[in-house]
Subunit: 217 residues, 2 copies
């Protein structure tokens, strides 16, 4: 294991990013992936690819039968059905990356996060929000691509998600994208210092200390 | 409440710093207090002042009767008896600082930390260690002020403290003092983003969102 200032780098961290619609979690995720060393988990889905979407990069596009097989084989860390389509996180690439010491980012919703927490309690759950409700509304309507009805629906949804948000580990307010991405990266990296990540360091330490004391006596 | 990038500053954090003897937690604490904006909790003790120690700065020096009164009145966050003397953390100044949004650092041992966890579950418990057992032994014997027997006793103690260390939130390896102090400060500041600290933000957010939606309809 390599030594870093502050902590011993061991297994990777599983990081779940969720947030209110319009809070900017997708942009933040893209920025983290572009500027820092994270693995991104590509989801599997039964929905048809949109123009420009690449299989294996944007999603793994599979048919319903294949998806149901993945569920039956417990090959997904979490999955959901949304407007008639399945979406899920294939387990194997995530666990492989974690074993290799790589931190993995999952950008999923509150239902998925709940499933992750059960299957993988060491995961770090981070919820992204805007500085205020007004700012969130302005960002959503400012996109200009959604009707007022859709904006209202999404804002109403954010009220419902509040109780789920309370079960996350951290809440980060996305005010300035550059600053928030930096902050988010430092928050994630600090989680390597969690005792749950550093148990092996302490075991090694005690073993070394016992040998040392034996040699002194 | 003032807004910062990343989080809303509300109540202060109670930060407990413990660590193996020789890991450098006192030096780290001094550095944090000198360079960042923390309140330090002055302990009360029944031991006699040493030369140069100032009452109210290094310790509150009190007699045994006064200390026992503090215990009886539940005026201490934690206390211990060590080589015939009492040591404890007066509750009121700590809670006052936290209410005023000031982060408070307690440099106490694993027994005190256990009591803090019970009385104040939101506290952040950080354990400081050296990069290796050998390094810890070298630091302790390098002081030149302790006999080999005392060094061996302290190293043996560190093995006993390992299980207590496991119940802390974070473990930080004090490799380079400057770097570790910076890292420690960022780790502490990030804890303001804990959901347990940001519940009020979410309440305010939902209230604002409901008003906003009502005005849109």
């Amino acid at each position: 294991m390599s030594k870093h200032t502050g902590f011993v780098k061991g297994k990777g961290l599983l990081v779940v990013l969720s947030g209110f619609s319009g809070a900017g979690k997708s942009t933040l995720t893209k920025k983290l992936l572009a500027e820092y060393d994270y693995a991104y988990s590509v989801s599997a889905t039964t929905r048809k690819p949109r123009e420009g979407e690449v299989d294996g990069k944007d999603y793994y596009f599979v048919d319903r039968e294949t998806f149901e097989k993945l569920i039956a084989e417990d090959a997904l860390l979490e999955y959901n059905e949304y407007v008639g389509n399945f979406y899920g996180t294939p387990k194997e690439p995530v666990l492989g990356n974690l074993e290799n010491g790589k931190d993995v980012i999952l950008e999923i919703d509150v239902n998925g996060a709940r499933q992750i927490r059960k299957q993988y309690p060491e995961a770090v759950l981070i919820f992204v929000t805007a500085p205020s409700a007004r700012e969130l509304a302005e960002r959503l309507s400012g996109r200009g691509t959604e009707s007022v009805d859709v904006v209202i629906k999404r804002l109403t949804q954010s009220i419902k998600e509040k109780d789920d948000a309370l079960s996350y580990d951290y809440l980060i307010i996305n005010d300035d994208l550059e600053e928030t991405a930096k902050h988010l990266n430092s928050l994630i990296q600090d989680q390597h210092m969690r005792l749950s990540q550093q148990g092996k360091y302490l075991d090694d330490f005690v073993k070394e200390m016992k040998d040392l004391l034996a040699s002194l006596k």
